[in-house]
């Protein structure tokens, strides 16, 4: 079955009319964060209250994706009044329905004028918290799949890539490789079979951007993948997603089924000769599978161990075929670029980092949740304006970006624009977008140890520098946090960091020393306090010399 533009527009029109038919629309966040605060029960209660009052025909209750401010969940948004309620309990369902059209309930009201909302710029998250992720019609009503139509019917693959290149989009998985360039390489590769893979193996602890996008707006990712497949000449796509995200997996599978039924995935999409199928592949809890060559091995059903590059996946990827691998957020940016043009996208952000970036704000900060800001936004604005500062009058100490591959950025860099280059200069990386704020109660040596333990147990064991190096580094850090270290241990750590960084096989190993190196660079006095004075300045470490440490 194929779909025409008229039919697509008709679906959008019907959906919009349906919405207009309701006098009030109550949107309840049913993404993982709010669900764990019982938002599903709240939705049921709300529906019951509506039907008890016989208001089904003019009050719409629907589940939507992430509304952003996870810390204040469950969140409820009432349209068209534009009222946001926070921390809504089941018992609040009745009063909220009664207040419709009258004064909002003060006790639950959360102002959307807060910098948390006002300072954001939504491109990737434009539909998050607005549409029902389990209804394709809702996505289409927001202009969904129109970019795919435009690409397939009015543009050549070459023009699609040119538009992406003009937009200056760079990989959102962390490394920031120019997306247009990657697509060009795969498009140029000569092979009958090519693949497109969406990397949704969001393994960085402290990051939940991809999860939220998949849970809130899965069709956007599918549309981006389909456009990419058309551009590079692929017919089969895979989404490799963590098994730890069951809700994201479920919504993705629903989205794929709906898209196939409608004909925006499958054979002869929009009456062209283009066909594209997508399959979901589950990860199984191996961080290293976020590395592209390990990820492909895992899709093939093998151990997730990386191999040396080159050859890059663009030439020799899945089952030896040219393969395009991009991250969830990268694909999520594709449809808006095609819809609005590369020039529009290039107008957002900085000279070298275009567009916006989604961050998962967590740790010691008042407003934890999901945010999207233009590239180049000052770190201070993110922490103190959008994030609302440090809770309980605490003092900012550092912000950790890039997870186990990144570093800790201290206070003196707060007035730094957040873009790929500035973060690298400060000794960290953009990473996929996890941003953990730390206050004085965090011991930076312990933080380094935390990440080293992570890298040690997530090392696949293939190459010696990573397998042995991370273990030795971890034991040295244990020695420091237990008060058993000597000054010479610091030299050993530095030497080992250098060695692992320069000799490990894949990105996991090469970047594993980053948390140690950055904390050692900015917080060396904390290391020396542990070693020389045998005290932990943050009082986080139990300083008892352990006997069994190496």
């Amino acid at each position: 079955m194929t779909l025409s533009l008229e039919e697509l527009q008709q679906i959008a029109r019907i959906e919009k009319d349906r919405r207009e038919g309701f006098q009030h629309r109550i949107k309840i966040c049913v993404a993982a964060g709010c669900l764990s605060c019982q938002s599903a029960t709240l939705k049921e209660a709300m529906e019951k209250e509506v039907s008890r009052r016989g208001m089904e025909n003019w009050v719409d209750v629907k589940g939507v994706g992430c509304l952003g401010l996870c810390t204040a969940g469950p969140l409820v948004f009432v349209e068209p009044d534009g009222i946001l309620y926070q921390g809504v309990k089941v018992s609040d369902a009745g009063p909220i329905i009664e207040s419709l059209g009258a004064e909002p309930i003060d006790a639950l009201h959360c102002s959307t004028d807060l910098p948390f909302f006002a300072r954001q710029h939504k491109v990737v998250l434009e539909n998050c918290g607005r549409i029902d992720p389990e209804r394709i019609e809702d996505y289409i009503a927001e202009g969904g799949y129109y970019a795919l139509y435009q690409a397939l019917r009015n543009m050549t693959p070459r023009e699609v890539i040119q538009e992406i290149t003009r937009g200056g989009l760079r990989g959102r998985g962390g490394a920031g490789y120019p997306t247009g360039l990657k697509w060009t390489t795969v498009a140029k590769a000569v092979n009958a079979t090519k693949y497109v893979i969406c990397n949704a193996d969001e393994g960085d602890p402290g990051a939940f951007m991809d999860r939220s996008v998949l849970e809130s707006d899965p069709h956007r990712v599918l549309e981006g993948m389909a456009i990419a497949a058309y551009a590079v000449g692929a017919a089969q796509g895979f989404i490799y997603v963590r098994a730890e995200y069951p809700l994201a997996v479920k919504r993705l599978r629903t989205a794929i089924a709906h898209a196939e039924r409608l004909g925006v995935l499958g054979n002869g999409i929009f009456n062209t000769r283009f066909r594209f199928d997508v399959r979901v592949r589950l990860g199984a809890g191996a961080f290293v599978c976020g590395e592209e060559t390990a990820l492909m091995a895992s899709i093939e059903g093998r151990l997730g161990k990386p191999r040396p590059r080159p050859p890059y996946p663009a030439e020799y990827g899945l089952w030896g075929c040219p393969t395009l691998i991009n991250n969830v957020e990268t694909f999520a940016n594709v449809a808006p670029i095609i819809r609005n043009g590369g020039a529009w996208f290039a107008g957002i952000g900085t000279e070298t980092s275009k567009g916006t970036k989604v961050f998962a704000l967590a740790g010691r900060v008042n407003h934890t949740g999901l945010i999207e800001v233009p590239m180049g936004t000052m770190l201070r604005d993110i922490v103190f304006e959008i994030g609302g500062g440090i809770p309980r009058g605490g003092r900012f100490k550092a912000v950790q970006t890039g997870g186990p591959s990144g570093g800790c950025i201290p206070e003196q860099y707060l007035d730094m624009p957040v873009d790929y280059e500035s973060l690298a200069e400060a000794g960290s990386i953009m990473g996929s977008g996890g941003m953990i704020i730390m206050d004085e109660s965090s011991c930076m040596v312990d933080v380094a140890k935390f990440f080293m333990e992570f890298c040690m147990s997530e090392s696949c064991g293939k190459c010696v520098p990573c397998r042995v190096g991370t273990t030795q580094l971890y034991h040295l850090l244990c020695k420091i946090t237990s008060g058993a270290a000597q000054p010479s241990d610091l030299d050993k750590i530095e030497e080992l960091c250098d060695l692992v960084k320069n000799t490990a096989l894949c990105g996991l190993g090469q970047t594993a020393p980053n948390p140690v190196m950055s904390t050692l660079h900015y917080f060396r006095d904390e290391y020396t306090a542990h070693i020389e004075d045998k005290v932990c300045p943050a009082k986080a470490c139990k300083m008892q010399p352990a006997k069994e440490v190496v």
């Binding site: 810390t71 990051a207 939940f208 730890e244 592949r281 589950l282 967590a362 740790g363 935390f450």
Partner: protein, 177 residues
């Protein structure tokens, strides 16, 4: 809810392929949907674990045969990926998130107090088989740190006392029933 090792191996003896056991039928469905392809190994192991709660040797042998994959590779994959477990879980499972936000929020203290109260460390089950303790790398519920999953339900903004109380309730409730 969870199955014992004896249950599972009994099912194997009655030839899983023809088994009417709902659990094996779900595994067989996954194998069939993927056309018995070797690259569906991880998918199939997911199906086994979802059905039985863990993956035992009999199941591995069956999967190896059906997908024409060496048993050594099935074992390698089942042990390489952290998500798979070869040990039967307890009646109740508590998964404490050890992601960065939860760590900053005090998940280590939660683990310590569980150890103090019930004598189990991550990866262990209480001797009476009632409660298993596991850790997760990150649940992605960082906005609600520290978080944990109690029998499949995510709970956030926890502290050590709440967690210990929840686990204690499992133990009490079961001894009454």
């Amino acid at each position: 809810m969870t199955q014992t090792a004896a249950d599972a191996s009994q099912s194997v003896q009655t030839n899983p392929k023809q088994s009417q056991d709902r659990r094996w039928r779900s595994v067989n469905r996954t194998i069939r949907l993927n056309g018995n392809q070797p690259d569906a190994l991880i998918e199939t192991l997911h199906a086994v674990q979802e059905s039985f709660g863990y993956i035992d040797l009999d199941a591995m042998q069956y999967v190896a045969r059906e997908l024409t994959v060496p048993l050594s590779r099935v074992y390698a994959v089942a042990t390489f990926y952290h998500y798979f477990t070869l040990k039967p879980p307890g009646d109740h499972t508590c998964v404490v998130c050890m992601g960065t936000a939860c760590y900053i929020g005090g998940s280590t203290a939660i683990l310590d107090s569980i150890h103090e109260g019930f004598g189990i460390s991550p990866g262990e089950t209480t001797p009476d088989g009632k409660v298993s303790l596991l850790t997760a790398r990150c649940l992605g519920s960082c906005g609600l740190a520290p978080a944990a999953v109690f029998d499949g339900e995510v709970a956030g903004k926890l502290d050590a006392a709440t967690v210990v109380e929840k686990i204690a309730r499992w133990a009490d409730h079961d001894s009454e029933s």
